[in-house]
């Protein structure tokens, strides 16, 4: 392709990604966004101005070499694109799909000022999928050092950390409490946003194969072995146990049948493949009128999964599908979910009830949910989070008929791993106190990163923390630093 002028580049519209039709996709769990073709990807890549000072990189928590990979892509050098990508991001097929790009790289792109940033996430996904299908960039391993490192938790933080630590030549063992590695990527984020077998498992298998990593599933640290016991056996330990503990609203009625945490619901659907019941044994059920409380990514995933289950049920029984509501105490402007998820949820027919807060869940004599008493809210002054504080409007209570309530209210670190871990300092929120640059904790030879340190955050920030901790662990094991020496 002849080189375009900047002006010509500015005239190319942002390329849309083909996706399944909303009416079709609510009847299946297949991926919604279908990905760019090479042609679309290269057209989108032409839009990048190759800025001398690329602000986009500053917006990326792991500093992906954005202009470099985009340039290689548009020149048709896919190998070069993959190599540029992998300098700072070992899981592009995942990040390209789940990063909140609109508040990260794409927000910082110069073209964002004119409304249409380069679709960096979609291009990243294209490059990641190319590499997944062809594996042109093998992971390599240095000669064995004889040092051993334990990684606790096989989520994005642990899986990123392990790659760099294993690369150095250390022997690594990942301990994971569930029966499948992946963390939120397998139990939380649904198949229709992130395919489990072809993307997540494929990335894990590849790392295991190239780097000789051992993954011990069914190992709950704190029970089968404690942190102190791991320290006897390993030279260093990285904690990437995430923030998996669900919260429930403190209102009456939360134990009626049909009220569940988003974690329970999504775990049944994703990890246990409940949407394929009875081919898979674990059941999952939603009623005709579902209320999902909260408006983050977790809430969108729960709402959109509910909609699909309702549609599948209706297709089987010939009945009417039903309704799914997102009940959120703030307004649309404060919705924390990725823009694309909100957009997809709306396309699919999820109903948003803003400025609404449940005060009680109502049940019948059999113990099943039949409704929810809610109160209307208005926005007051900004609170500590900088968002306007929702205030109940007196006398505005009303009842909403629902038969399923899914609470997606945020999570905190699971304390099981902290059994027998004296000296490991934690904040009052239960998160591990660790240096954000190095991941060092207050306990010698223990590093931590990801949601267990920050509280519920993002995949890419967990990956960044895992990568930085790996660098520090490697430096420590090389004898270059000894942070805990008196």
């Amino acid at each position: 392709m002849a080189t375009l002028t900047q002006r010509e580049r500015l005239r190319i519209p942002r390329q849309e990604m083909p996706s399944q039709d909303p009416q079709v996709r609510i009847g299946n769990f297949n991926e919604v966004a279908l990905g760019f073709t090479l042609e679309l990807a290269q057209k989108e890549a032409e839009r990048c101005l190759q800025c001398a000072i690329p602000h986009c990189i500053e917006g990326c928590p792991v500093g992906v070499l954005i202009p470099q990979f985009i340039r290689a892509l548009r020149e048709g050098d896919m190998h070069g694109a993959v190599e540029a990508m992998k300098v700072n991001n070992s899981l592009p097929a995942i990040c390209g799909r789940v990063c909140p790009q609109e508040v990260q790289c794409e927000q910082s792109c110069v073209l964002a000022k004119k409304g249409q940033p380069v679709a960096i996430g979609r291009l990243e996904r294209f490059v990641g999928d190319y590499e997944l299908a062809r594996r042109t960039c093998p992971l390599e391993r240095n000669p064995a050092t004889g040092k051993r490192v334990a990684i606790v938790g096989a989520g994005p933080a642990g899986l990123t950390c392990v790659v760099d630590v294993a690369h150095e030549g250390h022997e690594v063992v990942i301990f994971e409490s569930l029966h499948t590695p992946g963390g939120v990527l397998v139990y939380g984020i649904p198949e229709f946003r992130l395919p489990k077998q072809t993307v997540v498992q494929s990335e894990i298998d590849y790392a295991v194969e190239c780097l000789g990593i051992q993954i011990r599933t069914d190992h709950v640290i704190g029970r089968i072995a404690t942190l102190n016991e791991l320290l006897e056996e390993f030279d260093a330990v990285f904690l990437g146990t995430g923030a998996g503990l669900p919260s429930f609203l403190r209102i009456p009625g939360i134990n009626y049948n049909g009220v569940m945490s988003a974690n329970e619901f999504l775990t049944r659907v994703n990890l246990m493949k409940g949407y394929l019941f009875p081919e898979y044994d674990t059941p999952v059920k939603v009623g005709k009128k579902v209320a999902v409380i909260g408006a983050g990514n977790v809430a969108m995933d729960a709402a959109r999964s509910s909609l699909r289950l309702q549609t599948l049920q209706a297709q089987k029984s010939g009945g009417e599908p039903g309704e799914v509501h997102i009940v959120y105490r703030r307004s649309r402007a404060e919705v924390p979910a990725r823009a694309e998820e909100v957009h997809h949820a709306e396309e699919e027919g999820v109903i948003f009830d803003f400025l609404t807060n449940p005060v009680e869940i109502l049940g019948d004599e059999k113990g099943n949910v039949v409704g929810m008493r809610c109160i209307r809210m208005e926005l007051g002054e900004p609170d500590a989070s900088g968002r306007r504080r929702p205030i109940p409007i007196e006398g505005s209570e009303f009842e909403m008929e629902v038969d399923t309530v899914i609470m997606a209210l945020g999570t905190s670190p699971n304390p099981l791993v902290f059994v027998d871990a004296a000296g490991l300092e934690r904040s009052k929120h239960g998160t591990v106190v660790a240096d954000r640059q190095t991941g060092r904790t207050t306990m010698a030879r223990v590093w931590a990163g990801g949601d267990v340190v920050t509280g519920a955050a993002t995949v890419v920030s967990a990956m960044g923390a895992g990568k930085r901790a790996a660098a520090d662990i490697n430096a420590y094991l090389r004898g270059e630093i000894n942070p805990w020496a008196e």
């Binding site: 409490s177 569930l178 029966h179 139990y187 599933t217 069914d218 190992h219 709950v220 029970r223 089968i224 072995a225 998996g244 503990l245 669900p246 429930f248 939360i254 134990n255 049948n257 049909g258 569940m260 945490s261 974690n263 329970e264 775990t267 049944r268 246990m272 493949k273 019941f277 009875p278 081919e279 898979y280 044994d281 674990t282 059941p283 059920k285 059999k366 113990g367 099943n368 699971n414 304390p415 099981l416």
Partner: protein
């Protein structure tokens, strides 16, 4: 993969298996449980650690065939593998010398009460045990229970063996009798544990029950196992499984156990269909 090493049929519906799980065995204690999953399509189900052997590296489980997973488990044989076997989960029983304790085991609950009775006995307690089942064919481990109890009362609902009574009847007599009862332990169907708790309540004897809510992960991640106590909801898998029976909202617990009843029925049907198909295929071959 976790290999099944040994299998015993204890009664019509109760089976015992010894599973190779050295790391779990190294840490397991009375009162804890494991979660297993048979294969890739399987559900995760909790079962109590009925016994462990640290040297042999094994865990003994005992289960009652009540639905798809336990029925399928019952068809497995020594040499077969389980896909998941995670534990030990939950807190161990708090074993001390309380004085005189009554251990009540109902149905398959006889299995998990056994190691507790044994530990209580070893700790110096005077142990009175009551075991019961619907009928004789469902009873097991009378000898083992007798060996760790100072007194053993056996009852069946239909009188086919031992005394014709529900376990709460001899329990009430003990509470009204001469001896001071310092503590009661009860494991069995939720309905039995409810009535044991109601029986001991007027006498204010601390009553420990081991709750069997529906679970998924067993690590505090899903909240599906939550139980309502007097002072709010708790997670059975990490805060229990043992609780003060006088504080449990039993009706809520019983209702929650029923939530997937229809799906459980479908799962069994689907399984039986699969078994019939396999049998037909084998005949054809």
């Amino acid at each position: 993969m976790y290999k099944i090493l040994h299998k015993e049929v204890l009664s019509d519906v109760n089976k015992l298996m010894v599973v190779d799980a050295p790391e779990v065995a190294r840490k397991a204690q009375a009162g804890q449980f494991i979660i297993l999953r048979i294969d890739e399509h399987g559900e995760r189900i909790p079962l109590t650690v009925a016994d462990y052997d640290r040297e042999a590296g094994t865990i003994t489980i005992i289960f009652q065939e009540v639905g798809k997973t336990t029925m399928q488990l019952g068809t497995l044989e020594p040499g077969d593998d389980l896909a998941t076997f995670v534990g030990p989960l939950g807190h161990p029983s708090e074993i001390e010398d309380y004085g005189t304790v009554v251990c009540v085991g109902g149905g398959v609950g006889i299995a998990p009460i056994y190691p507790i009775a044994r530990s209580l006995h070893e700790a110096g307690n005077n142990v009175i045990s009551i075991i019961g089942a619907r009928n004789q064919s469902l009873l097991f481990w009378e000898d083992k229970m007798r060996a760790v109890s100072d007194d053993l009362i056996v009852c069946t609902d239909d009188g086919s063996y031992g005394r014709k009574a529900l376990v709460t009847e001899p329990l009430k007599e003990l509470l009204e009798g001469e001896r001071d009862i310092d503590r009661v332990w009860a494991i069995g169907p939720a309905i039995m544990m409810k009535f044991v708790s109601l029986t001991t309540q007027p006498y204010q004897v601390p009553t420990i029950v081991s709750l069997n809510t529906i679970m998924i992960d067993g690590t505090g991640m899903c909240g599906g196992c939550r139980v309502l106590l007097e002072d709010g909801a708790q997670f059975v898998c990490v805060d229990g499984p043992e609780f003060d029976g006088h504080k449990v909202d039993w009706d809520n617990l019983l209702a929650r156990q029923q939530f997937y009843r229809e799906e459980e029925r479908i799962a069994v049907e689907h399984w039986e269909e699969h078994c019939r198909l396999n049998a037909a295929l084998e005949e054809g071959a």
